[in-house]
Symmetry: C2
Subunit: 351 residues, 2 copies
């Protein structure tokens, strides 16, 4: 097993223990067996199975902040920080179960979406609630005695609400049925991706490990937020770019943003620079479910040089982020290395 696979396995082993703990709590409530089985299946089906980048990054950040590497952490310390990682994965599971219902998606992580599993249907709504509920059960059990417990709760609440705000704006902006490109704008795109993705995927893991490391002054949290939020935005812009311009081998799937009428960075850039004729082509073809319309959009994006705009954006944002990281004040224990590690993960995705 490679080091990376071993690290992932150790993280997954913690999850199996957490499912047992949650099960025990339901047993202590004398919850009937069929409901316990259902909850365990909900947890197992929806929480692991992804790349676990967010959860693992809590552990890795914590190790950097404490001048060590994850593999050197004792089992006890490892478990505690890994619980914070799994709390993010549970938060993501909560969002994804619901998002798939709202988007009427069919598959997630190579299996049917939870709400499409036989016998589940709309029970998936309550199941998503319970995935979120599990976060607070676990935080209380493992962190109630810590001085930063209330900060963890405030942070989860804040980031959860921000993600819901991003989701709301996404939902009212990009109706799959009614295509109206007037609703799109780069400003809205920026708001959606920052709120829907950047806070919980980039800021949350670092902030959690900072609290557990005792490096959590408002100045330090502000320093990392100032870098991780634009980095998260860059990550999503890259995701949008690759959906349209990446090969299936590169992205591991076939992009569908054009057909899905997504408020993507690519279409927003095109809208910004489009002549009246080009705009007309987009109005007539963007968000249509057929291959011909999709290809017309792609041809237009190529003709407009969106790829070049993307690469210029990428070089410029990466340079800017590096400059910002260099200016970080490490005097209270924060480490530039934390931010460089995040930047490297995003930058190398497309290289």
């Amino acid at each position: 097993m490679s080091d990376k696979a071993a690290a992932k396995q150790r993280f997954i082993n913690v999850f199996d223990g957490l499912v047992e703990e949650l099960k025990e709590i339901l047993i202590s409530y004398k919850m009937p067996q069929e409901a316990i089985d259902w909850f365990v299946r909900n947890l197992d089906y929806n929480t692991p199975g992804g790349k676990l980048n967010r959860g693992l990054s809590v552990v890795d950040t914590y190790a950097i902040l404490n001048n060590t590497t994850a593999d050197k952490l004792s089992d006890e310390e490892y478990k505690k920080v890994a619980i914070l990682g799994w709390a993010i994965e549970l938060l993501q599971a909560y969002f994804l179960v619901a998002d798939d219902m709202m988007d009427q998606s069919k598959t997630r992580r190579g299996q049917p979406c939870w709400y499409l599993v036989e016998g589940v249907n709309n029970i998936a709504i309550n199941d998503s609630f319970m995935l979120e509920g599990a976060i607070y059960v676990l935080l209380k059990k493992h962190f109630r005695q810590d001085s930063y417990y209330v900060d963890l709760l405030d942070l989860f609440h804040e980031v959860t609400f921000q993600t819901e705000l991003g989701q709301l704006l996404d939902l009212v902006t990009a109706d799959e049925e009614v295509v109206d490109l007037d609703k799109f704008s780069l400003a809205k795109h920026s708001f959606i991706v920052i709120f829907k993705t950047a806070y919980y995927s980039f800021y949350l893991p670092v902030a959690l490990s900072m609290y557990m490391s005792g490096i959590s002054s408002e100045e330090d949290l502000k320093q990392v937020r100032g870098i991780l939020i634009p980095l998260g935005e860059y990550f999503q812009i890259q995701d949008d770019y690759l959906d349209c311009f990446g090969t299936p081998e590169q992205i591991g799937k076939i992009g569908t943003d054009i057909k899905d009428n997504k408020c993507s960075w690519v279409v927003n850039q095109a809208l910004l620079h489009a002549s009246p004729e080009q705009r007309k082509l987009l109005d007539e073809n963007y968000g249509k479910k057929d291959d011909v319309s999709e290809q017309k959009c792609k041809d237009l994006f190529n003709e407009m040089g969106i790829s070049k705009i993307y690469h210029e954006y990428e070089e410029s944002i990466v340079a800017k982020l590096k400059e910002q990281i260099e200016q970080i004040d490490e005097s209270r224990g924060l480490k530039k290395e934390v931010l460089y590690a995040f930047l490297a993960k995003v930058y190398k995705r497309s290289k």
Copy 2:
């Protein structure tokens, strides 16, 4: 305006202010206008409009614990305790928006269910999340400086999770499509109603006002829980009884539990005492959508004397609760009157 109407109006006025506060927070995030408007409409459509019993009982309990009446509270103190009341109403709104989707209900409080409102549909899932999210935004804004802030958070998390557990068991027990009376039992009924209703409707309002009053030792919380949980169970048993045996004038609606295949106290009592022939009648008619089947079930319930069993249960539980209330230790500031007030509200409903 009657005293009761004036009290309700003062409570509702606080809500209007809270919606403004929540709006301001979205504005401070620079959230686009259409999403702000959507959130405000979500709050207004789903939160007030009910009887507000749960929210108002926080205020009333707080007044009793502080040797005063609600109308004598200063505007500042009133607003603070009313926020806790609205936090319960938001929690209920969160559950009801989702419950109506899961039950495919058509109306709620005399208007179409939120998910059936033009343009809403599945966005209602994220809207329910945001109703819950609003609780923590408001608690942080108004209680962050208080010593019991973390207790409020723990309490909301615990009760939320308990309610979700009750909802889960309800969903896996009473499938509207597949009628299987073997899934029902009085023990399951008791678990469902305690978890789905009693914790958030009875224990939560009292516990919140106890924290704000500084009367919140674990002994005192345990004392009230020991009375409010069986009282909440009695309330729901009464609700089930009235759904079947109450007149439309009495209950303000036409009961549908039989047709809806509800795991009601009434059918569970019947199952407990049914002869093989009576059981056969239930298997063949309970949960069917037609009036004839429904009437057959009602006739059987009458023949089996379920009404008499209910009245015996009611007299016995009321006597027991009174006895328990009499034994309450008031030495740390808790008041029997709090519990008598709750009991009176439930007992008089059917008298």
